[in-house]
């Protein structure tokens, strides 16, 4: 019991993220990176950006899923170890946004893999991203 609590605590306190751009316009991506920069410093919450999907707990996706990235997205998702979560950052990642109806676009992230939190915005402000991640972590508490 105590153990379970400890593990859960550790999970909430140490969410390592991996960032995957599924065809975004870059704005969401730089806002994600900006959350690591001194002004927002996501490391305060224990967030580290990792390059290898094996090391990460949270997959942060931005952009509408293009036909070309669809399979890679699934692949990266599968490479991640359980427990894993997916956060869709930006309007595009939520629904396809302004790119809805473009022939190269499949739709939002949830048209391919399950999503745990949606952060709308175009781009989502770094504060909004932090807000989303904090909300996600809160939901893990129970």
């Amino acid at each position: 019991m105590v153990f379970k609590k400890l593990i859960n605590w550790a999970r909430i306190k140490s969410p390592w993220i991996i960032h995957f751009n599924t065809g975004a316009c870059n704005a969401c991506d730089i806002e994600i990176l900006a959350t690591l920069a001194p002004r927002f410093d996501l490391e305060r919450f224990g967030v580290l950006l990792k390059g290898s999907p094996r090391h990460a707990d949270v997959l942060v996706c931005s952009g509408p899923v293009t036909l070309q990235t669809k399979d890679r997205l699934i692949r990266v998702y599968e490479q991640m170890a359980e427990p894993k979560f997916v956060v869709a950052v930006g309007t595009c990642a939520c629904s396809g946004g302004v790119f809805n109806g473009c022939y190269g676009v499949k739709g939002g992230i949830d048209s391919v893999i399950p999503v745990s939190a949606y952060i709308p915005g175009c781009p989502a402000r770094p504060e909004a991203i932090i807000d989303g991640i904090v909300k996600l972590l809160k939901s893990l508490k129970q």
């Binding site: 550790a10 306190k13 140490s14 305060r44 290898s52």
Partner: protein, 312 residues
Amino acid sequence: MVMTIFYILVFPGFLFLSAYGLAVEFVDRKLYARFQNRKGPPWFQPFADFVKLISKETIIPAEADRRMFKSLPVFAMTAVLTASLYIPVWSTQSLFPFEGDVIVILYLLTIPTLTFFLGGWHSSSLYSTLGSVRVLTQLFAYEVPLLMAILGPALLAGTWSLSGVSAFYAANPIYALVNIPGFVAAMIAAQGKLERVPFDIPEAETEIVAGAFTEYGGRLLALFRMTIDIEMVVVAALVSAIFIPLFSANPWLGFLFFVIKTLFVVFLLALFRSVMARLRIEQMVRFCWRVLTPLALVQILIDLIVKGFVQL
């Protein structure tokens, strides 16, 4: 007997070192963050990371050699723990000193490096393989200057036991002044040993993802990270025991000095890594042979000369 087990398992062995290793990691990360004008992680961060990794699913790549893949982190950890037994913690004396333990420590410290190499090699992933080749290349570059930088002060002290060296400088702190070039060389070589900027070439994330660790995850990665943390403690302790003559006969005060000294070394390490860019592997090798090794040689020369004068 009970005491020995206590020494090995609790203090200054396994438990203490793990805890201190995590603390040192925190200090390092926090300082790094502060050097970059940001807030940095909370104090429990390395611990939370560790617990989380331990509890995570461990995936072993299908192509990897399972037994090797799993046993290497344990092996690496054991090696650094063993090395710690020869490091003085609360006085000039380590737990099990013997003549020649300096060399043994250095050898034990190469074992983690070798396991990183093997671990990467056996993951059969491109990035890991590349990372492991870099690990090995780099090992040959910094090992010599590191050994030589430590050799000099030992020559002056006239003993091959770390406790003996410490005791010598504790008695004659003034001699530590002549060892400054060696200290510089050892610090830089340590940066390579610990694979940190500017020598974090083997795990350069922008080039080869996470190098040898790319395919490691969960518990095994936790062990590797812990190994690196403890290695940092051991290296910091080794360097400070030889080059910083701050000891006390009082065990409490001595322990306090130990902490201060190691943290000072960690501070320097963090500072180094925050003000430099990563070198390329061939630049690193060239630097080690052209600059670092001569520097260490000069150190040996100085020590021999000083020793000559002392004996006159």
